[in-house]
């Protein structure tokens, strides 16, 4: 499937609720008849994996445009080692998982379809050990395996895409990036449904625990976040797009009791050695 076709299919999915794609014909963007694609709306339930990866890569490109990767190869490789190991415990170990720490002082983490995960420097500074990192990555990995962002796009976030037009381009990848930039920004500024976030918490703790880590890594991070001032600028986007940490902890509480009595590796030493310079650099 070409980049243009992906954009078209998603665009059509986006407007399906407005019935534009279901109209009998004549709904054209740059002379491309969308009504033909509209007949396949039923098929939109599944975006094939190669397309999912292409879409996610384009979205990640937009996310990295807001804040570039931190220039620290050792730390980046470390986060990839931990993330890839946690991802191996999921139903989708074979995705081309990519993990990165960006340069932002804001406290947050992001996932894009197909296995793209970005953690902010600000988040890394809040974490105390590898089990907490594994918990955060487990949460983001769950967004990918459960296709939360992909489904959110299909539900209608791409409605703006038609307005932008679908100009032909010789560079299909950059065209897809361009087409998805608006919807991506909209989606990540608005956030997922709360139920998706709660699901990512409860799947994420199990992925980290399966990987051998202390299952309480993610709850420990949420406990830290629960102590923060909700009006803190560095948490504004996280608070806007996620349920309150207190509510997330309360939701996890009964289930966590089933993860009792596990060997709980935290690997604090290695984590602290690799993140020490972050803490020194900007404090």
């Amino acid at each position: 499937m070409s980049a243009r076709r992906i954009a078209l299919v998603l665009a059509c999915a986006g407007v399906a609720t407005l019935t534009a794609c279901q109209s009998g014909g004549g709904f054209n963007v740059n002379n491309i008849d969308l009504s033909a694609i509209a007949k396949n709306v039923g098929n939109l339930k599944e975006v094939k994996e190669p397309e999912e990866i292409q879409i996610g890569g384009s979205m990640a490109e937009t996310l990295l445009g807001a804040s570039p990767l931190l220039d620290d190869a050792e730390l980046q490789t470390y986060v990839n080692d931990v993330g890839m190991w946690v991802a191996q415990q999921s139903e989708r170990p074979g995705l081309p998982w990519r993990f990165g720490v960006n340069s932002s002082d804001h406290i947050n983490a992001f996932a894009a379809p197909g296995g793209y995960i970005i953690v902010t420097k600000g988040m890394m500074k809040q974490l105390r050990n590898e089990a907490e990192l594994a918990g955060v990555l487990g949460h983001e990995i769950s967004h990918v395996t459960k296709k939360h962002h992909l489904n959110a796009l299909r539900k209608g976030a791409l409605v703006n895409l038609l307005g932008e037009g679908l100009a032909a381009s010789s560079d299909k990848h950059s065209e897809l990036v361009r087409q998805l930039a608006g919807p991506t920004k909209e989606l990540y500024a608005r956030g997922l449904d709360k139920s998706d976030e709660f699901e990512a918490d409860r799947v994420g703790v199990v992925l980290a625990a399966r990987a051998g880590y202390d299952p309480y890594g993610l709850p420990a991070v949420l406990t830290t976040l629960a102590t923060a001032d909700p009006k803190d600028n560095f948490l504004s986007l996280l608070y806007k797009t996620h349920p309150l940490p207190q509510a997330r902890l309360d939701k996890l509480t009964p289930g966590m009791a089933t993860l009792d009595n596990l060997k709980a590796t935290q690997n604090a030493d290695r984590f602290q050695k690799l993140t020490r310079k972050l803490k020194v650099a900007s404090n």
């Binding site: 191996q88 081309p96 990165g100 709660f198 799947v203 902890l249 289930g255």
Partner: protein, 168 residues
């Protein structure tokens, strides 16, 4: 043991305490204080919701807390911590970061960003193969284990939610 050796051992022991130790907090909900870190243990007292406490130690999913003259074990999830003094970035850091030319990830910056083609290539260069990650895990003493996902019905049970859950 000489005085100096004793001091060294004491300091090492102090440093080895879990990160949560000696922190203050409060009870997230009413809970029994237990004699041992196990659900079957005898209750020696009670915590009321929001009762202030001190976290003394952690063992797996349990923490030993002190609340006034009483102490005992409660589940980690039944405890919330107080903010550590001066640990979180103060509000004016946002302006400081901007002045230093550091790009952040506020909503404004997300909306204003332009796609970073070179950054996505860089991200790909940092990626590791599954077998390398497994090698890392082995070296780090991590062993994969089979565990079921948490039961959503259990997690979402409305009667387990606190009274103020829907107040957000």
């Amino acid at each position: 043991m000489g005085k100096r050796t004793f001091l060294a051992v004491f300091l090492i022991a102090l440093a080895a305490l879990p990160a949560m130790a000696a922190q203050t907090g409060f009870a997230a909900r009413a809970a029994d204080l237990l004699e041992r870190p196990a659900a079957s243990a005898r209750a020696t007292g009670k915590l009321t919701k929001k009762q202030p406490l001190q976290v003394l130690a952690r063992e797996g999913s349990w923490v030993r807390v002190g609340a006034g003259p009483a102490s005992g074990w409660v589940r980690l999830m039944d405890v919330r911590l107080d903010p550590p003094p001066g640990k979180l970035p103060p509000l004016n850091r946002a302006k400081a970061a901007k002045d230093n030319g550091v790009r952040g990830f506020s909503e404004e910056e997300l909306l204003a960003g332009t796609p970073g083609a070179s950054e996505i290539d860089k991200l790909g260069r940092y990626a590791v193969a599954a077998k390398d990650a497994s090698g890392y895990a082995r070296a780090a003493g991590l062993k994969a284990r089979a565990l079921d996902y948490l039961d959503p019905a259990d997690v979402l049970a409305p009667d387990r939610l606190p009274d103020d859950f829907f107040d957000e």
